[in-house]
């Protein structure tokens, strides 16, 4: 049976891992390759590396990091941040990434989803969506949650799927950093709407939150950062817990 996936996310700036609380105030949390290798040993099913560096120089550093990750880690990993064109995708896949995650660039230029799917296959293309619940709707945001758009989560996720997205990574800005659980209702709506896997993101604080994302939210994977980086939840103990709770995970 296909297992539910646990995905630690590493935000990388200038070659180091950081994690924000509600998308601001970064705290540092270690060497990305070493951290990824450690997570892999503990039983992480995939890794996500997000480049939050804005500079050209930072891009080069990140590409070098992707090569090191590919050389050292034997589980799949996704990279995101600063992917604006097909050439960026090509560079990161050639460096050894398995998938790319696009967010603002997909909202600005939805054709990019089709281009990636056509050239490298849908399975390579993760469309990440940052959305905040306001005025009774899930409004999508650009640039790491800084700029509101005129698009809404469910419409945009459906469009992304029809354009060839292989997975949707939904981060609830409302829940991110608050550690009070994932946005399970919105996740369940996405599960009903879409025919591609949904990765839950934003809100993990306790092991029960992961269980709820899989059972109530019917997510295919759950992503988290700070609870893993600061050792609040161990991946091995989390998977033992989920297994005992009847969630099918890789042990």
């Amino acid at each position: 049976m296909l297992a539910k996936r646990i995905i630690p996310c590493l935000d990388v700036k200038d070659g180091k891992t950081v994690k924000g609380v509600n998308f601001v105030n970064f705290r540092e949390a270690g060497d990305p390759v070493e951290l990824g290798a450690q997570y892999s040993r503990q039983g992480a099913d995939e890794l996500v590396y997000l480049d939050i560096t804005a500079s050209h120089e930072g891009r080069k550093t990140f590409t070098e990091l992707v090569k090191k990750v590919a050389a050292n880690i034997s589980i799949p990993f996704t990279v995101g941040g600063g992917i604006n064109a097909l050439a960026d995708v090509e560079r990161l896949l050639a460096a050894g990434a398995d998938k790319v995650s696009i967010n603002s660039s997909a909202l600005r230029n939805p054709d990019l989803i089709e281009e990636i799917a056509k050239n490298f296959g849908s399975q390579v293309c993760v469309v990440a969506i940052d959305a905040n619940f306001e005025n009774e709707r899930w409004l999508c945001y650009l640039n790491g949650g800084r700029i509101p758009t005129d698009r809404f989560l469910f419409d945009w996720a459906t469009e992304a799927e029809s354009r060839g997205a292989g997975e949707i990574l939904f981060t609830s800005m409302t829940h991110d950093g608050v550690k009070d659980g994932y946005s399970n209702e919105a996740l369940a709506c996405l599960a009903d709407l879409l025919h591609i896997p949904v990765i839950a993101s934003g809100g993990a604080g306790k092991m029960e939150h992961f269980r709820d994302a899989f059972t109530l939210g019917r997510a295919d994977a759950a992503l988290a950062a700070s609870v893993f980086h600061f050792g609040e939840i161990g991946i091995a103990e989390l998977k033992d817990y989920l297994s005992a709770e009847g969630v099918n995970v890789r042990l």
């Binding site: 049976m1 590919a70 050389a71 050292n72 896949l93 295919d220 890789r250």
Partner: protein, 196 residues
Amino acid sequence: MKVAIIKYNAGNIYSVDYALKRLGVEPVITDDLGVIRNAEKVIFPGVGEALSTMTYLREHGLDDFIRGLMQPVLGICLGMQLMCMHSEEGDTPCLGIFDSEVKRFIPKRHEDKVPHMGWNTLTDVKSRLFGPELEGKFTYFVHSYYVPVNEFTVATTDYILPFSAALHKDNFYATQFHPEKSGDVGELILRNFLNL
């Protein structure tokens, strides 16, 4: 040990290279027929689409060549599918090493997502690629097409229906999953192949 990774117009062959390096082997990524012929082990990897890759293989004379290899050959993912008789993807005639069709997954329920992506279990394992300790272990899959269970099946996985996770015939071995991305379990399977 001389290991050749066949270079062709398929994606993601570098992760196989990295995985072998982690096992202490320095493989050669090449389309040089002489180098491939002299290798002790040959790996035929691949992520991509059946019709364009088969067309490339035929144009470069690699189709007959791969069929004629005598040393242990390991096909991975698309590599395994191309080693079959015919693929529904692009209605493509393939290498015909394994007398089997490659079919597209047809979802039965809303939850049946295609591609089949993620970690799934191996059952009924046999052949020298798998010891009994690998029964029930998880490996990493990404694919929309599958090979039905047939006389060459040496490991089975269940997704929508039971399908071939691995095939074996003579010196030809193949896995639908990605051993190079399957953590410790994948490393063990690659090591078993290198030790054949």
